[in-house]
């Protein structure tokens, strides 16, 4: 998504409203995330970064920068982070012997998938880069790294710049190597190519361009790819996904104060009080829940954005991957029609459900707009099989406009901290607003993740006794297989099979009960 697509509708929108706050608000969703590639900036490859970020170094210690960064990032990433294997898992140039030895069978799967996709021999290499390596290396996304430096080596998979932004500018001596860099605003850094990963929204946007998909960036697992054997993408929770990564960063709360701390806090937060009060509010923030919530809201936006991208050419709309798998993929049992919610027309595929998330504290009119647009979108999905592409496109434009407005709100939220009261309110909100959609395994899983993150944080802070929640949480984890499958010595296909079997047979009523129980425990201990 480039800014241009939105200029006209945005203009019309802002002229129509004529309100100064809304004019400020009306900006394209994507650029609002500050994760675009500035002109003339390139990726330079992990080797350049690793020169400094591999091991602590007395020189840097003396300069004081190691207080903020650990300088073991590249090592942590190379040795433990799944992203470093992203290319190795799909590379197709292994010898038969190596293929045989691989217990995960992921390379064999990769070969099988591409052969089933039936590409012509002469286009194989290009297609592999365009359809697979855009995510498995993070390369060549038109928007993110227009020119790939020869030093950028695909062997290293998803590497530093895939998430931090292309480094040809900010790695210059006068920029990010200076202590003063830290106090610069996210906007200033973004101009030089570095994306603001202290912002949950920006981080989530970067993760989701692969973990959900982004057609404009050539990152999209189509139904053809799934049918050829690509494992199904799990739903997304920013905090859960970050927890699953070996941390190569230091959490904000653990970073030492520095001379420009007050300036840093002023740029990144919007909290009343003197600098000490601000500092302690940041320290006390329930940040895991905050990340989970803001990440979820970003997923919601980007799901709509994905519909917008998919319906841009109505004649090509309707890739089955846009719909809930189990809507079609179920055996026709004699009682299967009794399970479906009555509100929908029978027999119409329904969308993979990312559309329903909202958040507490939002202005009522904005929530109503969001709710009514969501309703209209769902109605359009229901009106004809696979949805009316033109109507969906119109609605997604409207939706994105209103989201751009809400994004201002989101920015305000990002600049605020989350208190215990906010966490409980969020839990309560989640529980009531998602009740109906919990029959969908993927929505249930995403919701359960968000609930568990908040509950865990309450337990961590001593607000809840672990005994009061752990039995229900354990059951919920098992019911929905909440633990992410990390690098296991197990065939990818057998892992897939068991996840899909869980999805097919999961007990929605019990899931609802457990979430309700957990949330009520938290609410009553308030």
């Amino acid at each position: 998504m480039t800014g241009q697509k939105f200029v006209l509708p945005m203009l019309a929108f802002t002229l129509g409203i004529l309100s100064s706050t809304l004019i400020a608000a009306a900006e394209p969703t994507h650029s609002a995330y500050h994760a675009t590639v500035p002109t003339g900036v390139n990726s330079i490859g992990v080797k350049e970064c690793a020169a400094c970020h591999s091991a602590p170094n007395p020189i840097y210690d003396a300069l004081g920068v190691t207080k903020f960064v650990r300088l073991v990032e590249a090592t942590e990433w190379r040795e433990r982070d799944k992203h470093a294997y992203a290319y190795q898992l799909v590379r197709q140039d292994l010898s038969p012997d190596e293929l045989e030895k691989d217990e995960r069978k992921s390379n064999q799967l990769s070969i099988d998938i591409t052969s089933k996709l039936n590409w012509k021999p002469e286009e194989r290499k290009n297609k592999f880069e365009q359809k697979c390596l855009t995510c498995h290396v993070g390369m060549n996304a038109s928007e993110r790294s227009p020119k790939v430096d020869p030093k950028f080596n695909i062997q290293f998979g998803v590497q530093c710049e895939s998430c931090h932004g292309p480094g040809s500018e900010y790695t210059k001596l006068e920029h990010h190597q200076q202590v003063s860099w830290r106090a610069k605003s996210p906007e200033e850094k973004a101009e030089l190519g570095m994306w603001n990963l202290s912002s949950p929204s920006t981080t989530a946007k970067i993760c989701l361009s692969c973990h959900l998909g982004n057609i404009d960036e050539d990152r999209f697992v189509s139904h053809d790819m799934y049918a050829a054997g690509h494992p199904v993408l799990p739903p997304f929770d920013l905090q859960v996904f970050l927890d699953a990564m070996p941390p190569h960063w230091r959490p904000l709360q653990e970073k030492p104060l520095f001379e420009n701390q007050a300036e840093y806090n002023r740029v990144h937060f919007d909290i009343p009080g003197n600098s000490d009060e601000i500092q302690s509010a940041i320290r006390d923030s329930y940040d895991k829940t905050r990340r989970s919530m803001l990440g979820g809201l970003a997923a919601n936006d980007l799901g709509i954005e994905l519909i917008h991208q998919g319906t841009a050419k109505p004649s090509t709309w309707g890739d089955y991957s846009n719909y809930n798998c189990m809507g079609c993929h179920q055996e026709l049992k004699k009682n299967s029609t009794q399970i479906r919610p009555h509100s929908r027309t029978p027999g119409r595929p329904f969308p993979a459900n990312w559309l329903t998330l909202d958040y507490p504290n939002i202005h009522v009119s904005s929530r109503d707009t969001h709710a009514s647009l969501t309703r209209e979108m769902l109605a359009s999905f229901d009106s004809v099989p696979f949805g009316d592409a033109q109507r969906l496109n119109q609605l997604s434009v409207k939706h994105l406009q209103s989201l751009a407005d809400r994004f201002q709100d989101r920015r305000k939220m990002e600049k605020q901290v989350m208190s215990k009261k906010d966490v409980v309110q969020w839990l309560d909100f989640l529980n009531t607003s998602r009740q109906e959609s919990l029959t969908d395994f993927w929505v249930a899983k995403q919701t359960a993740w968000m609930v568990c993150v908040a509950i865990d944080e309450l337990v961590e802070r001593g607000d809840l006794k672990i005994d009061s929640v752990s039995p229900s949480q354990r059951e919920l984890r098992e019911l929905l297989r909440l633990d992410l499958q990390l690098l296991q010595k197990q065939s990818v296909l057998s892992v897939q099979k068991s996840i899909l079997e869980t999805a097919q047979h999961f007990d929605a009523a019990r899931c609802k009960e457990l979430i309700d129980l957990l949330v009520n425990t938290a609410v009553s201990r308030r």
């Binding site: 189509s222 090509t316 079609c328 055996e331 026709l332």
Partner: protein
């Protein structure tokens, strides 16, 4: 006597094999309207196709008298036990229909608890009132003689269901004139709209216009998803099980069942194409596009989580992997008819393949599909056209049986229930003695492999491991191989 026992056994086999198919019978009625200009359908009529001989039912404008008006004891309502000569009217059509014909139960079906649930899910019925008239009309088009019926009347005892005029045409134009003298019935058939259900191809088309569909009867994926059983019509099987209120002159000939089967294949293809064209033109308010019931049920409806290549998905080629293969049940029957000469048949098959490819493309172009379906209908009609009437071409029973057995053999390597079931029916209908002795046992084995599992509304075929009545892939292949050998040996004898 032996013949009777054989017939009873046949009936049993047919009934069990197609238990689900038969369940559909009671919910449908045979009626047609190839040239129906007055219904909600706005599809133009094609003079090239008006010669099916059954284009006389204008069900919306012509008056329906009701089955009771045929039931006078001196007409169709008496016992008339004495009339026994083949071809003579029995005189007891009405009581036979009323007591034994599942069509007479159709109204009971549509006002049943299960049906009311379906109507509610589809938004047709709301708070006991019809909320979506066109949707209800679409139901009545097959479930009742008179489609003009109001909401208040949806109670078990009100309407007659699928009565005489559903198949024979609304009686208003010919009622008074069809019994006056020996030539009057013929005159009514030729000139007044009394349907001539004698010739088998038009007869099959009458059945197919509900049991498959027509341009103003669309039993689509929405309706199936709401709970209506999917339609699996076969003329020979249904005809065998049907309590007939008539006698066919050639009903005792050994090739009669084959004739029905053959006529059925042609009529099913024509009805399916008519329906497809109508759906692609969206000529009915209830129709949708793309229409998912144009595709094989289990191409989407299977449990995920099977290792690729080893699930119950039909084995289609790489081009369509991830997309749905077209449902062939009604469509490709003519590809196995020995009666259609080879060059004509391969032209038909080529056209069908083109149409299939269009339907399987990611965003099927409805206009092109409508045009191609129409073209194929004309092509099909021309292939069986004799003096402007659709007529069974000359054919040899022996070569037809050989083709049917060959087809059955070919399904050994395929994972498609549809192809296997179709080939099985073909053998059953065209092989003269599959109902007795060793061959009956052989057919029984194949049949068991085709049965739907107990709790499913669809085949689970074949399984990797056997479960319930479903044989495993290996068992199925072995049984089929043995069956084919036995059938071929019997052919040679």
């Amino acid at each position: 006597m032996t013949k009777q026992i054989a017939l009873v056994r046949n009936l049993k086999i047919a009934a069990v094999t197609f238990a689900l198919l038969l369940a559909v019978v009671e919910q449908t009625r045979g009626q047609t309207s190839t040239a129906d200009t007055s219904s909600s359908s706005n599809l133009p009529d094609d003079p090239n196709l008006s010669s099916w001989g059954i284009d006389s039912i204008h069900r919306m404008t012509q008056g329906v008298r009701g089955a009771a008006s045929c039931a006078t004891s001196s007409c169709h309502g008496g016992p008339k036990a004495g009339v026994s000569s083949l071809g003579a009217p029995r005189g007891s059509e009405y009581p036979l229909w009323l007591e034994r014909d599942p069509h007479a139960q159709s109204w009971k079906t549509i006002s049943s608890e299960a049906s009311l649930k379906i109507l509610t899910k589809l938004g047709i019925l709301r708070d006991g009132k019809i909320a979506y008239a066109e949707g209800f009309q679409n139901c009545l088009a097959c479930h009742n003689t008179d489609p003009n019926i109001t909401a208040e009347q949806l109670s078990p005892r009100i309407a007659e269901g699928v009565g005489c005029e559903s198949c024979h045409g609304p009686a208003e134009p010919w009622y008074d004139r069809h019994y006056q003298g020996s030539a009057s019935a013929k005159f009514a058939k030729t000139n007044l709209g009394l349907t001539d259900s004698g010739p088998l191809v038009p007869r099959a088309k009458i059945c197919a216009s509900c049991h498959v569909g027509s341009k103003d009867r669309d039993m689509n994926h929405d309706i199936i998803a709401a709970g209506h059983p999917a339609l699996y019509f076969d003329m020979a099987v249904y005809h065998e099980a049907y309590p007939k209120h008539w006698r066919d002159k050639d009903q005792n000939q050994s090739n009669f069942r084959s004739k029905l089967w053959l006529a059925g294949k042609i009529a099913m293809a024509d009805a399916e194409l008519e329906l497809l064209e109508s759906r692609a033109c969206k000529s009915l308010p209830v129709s949708t596009w793309p229409e998912l019931s144009n595709y094989q049920c289990n191409s989407c409806h299977f449990q995920l989580g099977g290792i690729p290549k080893a699930n119950s998905q039909p084995d289609h080629d790489v081009v369509t992997r991830g997309r749905a293969p077209v449902r062939d049940w009604n469509l490709n029957g003519f590809a196995m008819l020995s009666a259609i000469p080879a060059p004509t048949q391969s032209e038909l098959v080529n056209s069908l393949n083109g149409l299939r490819e269009l339907l399987q493309s990611p965003n099927p172009d409805s206009k092109l599909i409508a045009a191609k379906s129409h073209q194929l209908r004309i092509q099909l009609f021309n292939s069986i056209n004799e003096n402007g009437k659709p007529t069974l071409p000359a054919w040899s029973m022996k070569s037809q049986t050989a083709i049917s057995i060959q087809r059955l053999d070919e399904t050994r390597q395929s994972n498609s229930w549809e192809l296997a079931a179709e080939a099985y029916t073909a053998v059953w209908a065209t092989h003269p003695n599959t109902s007795t002795g060793h061959l009956a046992l052989v057919m029984n084995t194949i049949r068991n492999g085709l049965l739907f599992p107990k709790d499913l509304m669809m085949p689970h075929f074949p399984r990797q491991q056997s479960g319930g009545t479903s044989p495993s892939l290996r068992e199925w292949n072995e049984a089929l191989q043995q069956a084919v050998v036995a059938l071929k040996n019997d052919e040679l004898r």
